[in-house]
């Protein structure tokens, strides 16, 4: 069995999760503080990938970044960068597709912290940034871990978006989920089974560990 799709899948999930941790934490924090119209709209947009068919998201990304026109054309001509049919494109698509899984639990957890925690920190002369890093984040560690694991596992399972914007380029965009599909098309059922079983085991272990971990913290992992 060619292991490349498995490595590609793990690489994609790891990079996506890291990017979402870096981008998602400040964003979740900002969203957790009060409800302006702008925040409500932004939160709705971020949540869209949860309900939108992945092929729709993939289609819009394909149209947006196709080197034939618009942004894609500009990127291609100026930087020789292409987001379609490339690993970069998959990362971009995954970040968008898995964002609600990172933002959701973290924002919830931040909102459940008593307001007086940050207030106390402010009266001690600490800036919002320092308060966020030293007081808030350490107290939502469980949710951060859950969010990261869910994001990772969710990215492992991407198919529709990847197919649309990544194609099926071996070694580049043929991630494990696509490799399963590809193997079936080639009537190579042995490989299809091997990839499927591997993906199933990895994701099952991750989901179980999230539930076990949260059992001891007495919280629903999906909040």
């Amino acid at each position: 069995m060619d292991l490349t799709p498995i490595w590609l899948t793990l690489k994609l999930a790891a990079i996506t999760t890291m990017i979402l941790l870096i981008v998602g934490l400040p964003l979740a924090y900002w969203l957790s503080k009060g409800r302006s119209i702008a925040k409500i709209i932004l939160e709705a947009i971020i949540t869209m990938p949860l309900v939108l068919p992945p092929s729709v998201l993939g289609f819009y990304l394909l149209m947006a970044f196709s080197p034939k026109h618009g942004i894609g054309e500009w990127l291609h001509n100026t930087f020789d960068i292409q987001f379609v049919f490339s690993f970069k494109g998959l990362v971009l698509a995954s970040v968008i597709y898995s964002m609600p899984f990172m933002i959701g639990p973290i924002k919830s957890a931040l909102q459940q912290l008593p307001l007086s925690l940050s207030q106390a920190s402010y009266t001690l002369g600490k800036s919002e940034r320092e308060t966020f890093i030293k007081v808030l984040l350490p107290n939502i560690r469980a949710s951060m871990l859950t969010a990261a694991i869910l994001t990772f596992a969710h990215t492992l399972g991407e198919f529709g978006v990847v197919l649309m914007i990544g194609g099926n380029i071996p070694g580049v965009t043929r991630v494990a989920s696509i490799a399963v599909y590809d193997s079936v098309e080639n009537m190579d059922y042995a490989s299809a089974n091997a990839y499927s079983l591997t993906l199933f085991c990895i994701t099952f272990i991750m989901v179980i560990s999230v539930f076990v971990f949260n059992k001891y913290k007495a919280k629903s992992p999906l909040e």
Binding site: T4, T17, M18, H76, Q82, F85, G171, V172, E185
Partner: protein, 249 residues
């Protein structure tokens, strides 16, 4: 933070383990070639040391992907019009060259008996018929032409299951999810020794010849190797292999 460090390590590890595919040729091949391309690739590697990575799909889908920037070096279509239109839009520098002629067969995983297949399709015995999407798969188009000529297309329309490529049609046929399907002659050699299928060649006069054309894509970064493969496809060695799989050369 404690969580980030394992991730960073994981990423470095994963980065290191992905092998580079820089020297390989990415050849987009129409689905009917999915079996023969493996044999051709092996022979080509033996002769030149160059690896090819086939990407299999329907000619139409591959053509669209190329227009949207897919990084292929060559495109082996199941017809002439897809590569011709790509050449016209500037995706290749030369007009497509013919590398093979395809043959259409009707086949099934059950031993039905195809002597009078036109009547067979109309009977209640046959509930599901697979053909490849005629818009994007030239073999599907050929099947449609043949059915139209025989005057039975309209009557069996409700039984037709469309596969998005010959690959999918082959899956339907070999797993028995359809009763019969129209596919490429090459399937017979593809599954030799693995599965049993029963088949018959469709009269070539009932459909326009399946002239299969190939082009080197302008965006290719491995033009020297691509040229070599193009020449190889026209060589006697390649023709011998293609003939084994039922193609006309």
């Amino acid at each position: 933070m404690k969580i980030k460090i394992p991730f960073i390590i994981a990423v470095f590890f994963l980065f290191a383990s992905i092998t580079s595919f820089a020297q390989e040729l990415k050849v987009a091949v129409a689905a009917n070639l999915q079996g023969v391309i493996k044999a051709l690739g092996k022979d080509f590697k033996q002769k030149t040391g160059i690896d090819i990575q086939p990407i299999v799909g329907s000619s139409g889908n591959l053509s669209t992907q190329i227009k949207n920037g897919a990084p292929f070096d060559l495109f082996l279509s199941a017809d002439m019009s897809f590569p011709e239109s790509l050449a016209k839009e500037g995706f290749s520098t030369k007009e497509p060259g013919v590398y093979a002629y395809g043959s259409l067969i009707i086949c099934s995983s059950q031993n039905i008996g195809f002597e009078n297949w036109e009547r067979l399709l109309l009977s209640g015995r046959i509930k599901k018929i697979a053909i490849a999407n005629p818009a994007i798969a030239p073999y599907g188009k050929a099947a449609e032409e043949s059915l139209k000529l025989k005057g039975i297309l309209d009557d069996i329309q409700s039984k037709i299951v469309t596969g998005e490529s010959i690959s999918q049609v082959n899956t339907y046929i070999t797993t028995g999810t359809v009763d019969v399907g129209f596919t490429t002659r090459a399937l017979v050699k593809d599954i030799e020794g693995k599965t049993t299928i029963y088949w018959k060649e469709i009269d070539p006069k009932s459909y326009a010849p399946i002239k299969q054309g190939m082009i080197i894509l302008k965006q290719s970064k491995e033009t020297a190797s691509a040229e070599k493969f193009y020449e190889y496809m026209l060589s006697p060695a390649a023709k011998r292999i293609l003939k084994e799989y039922g193609y006309g050369v």
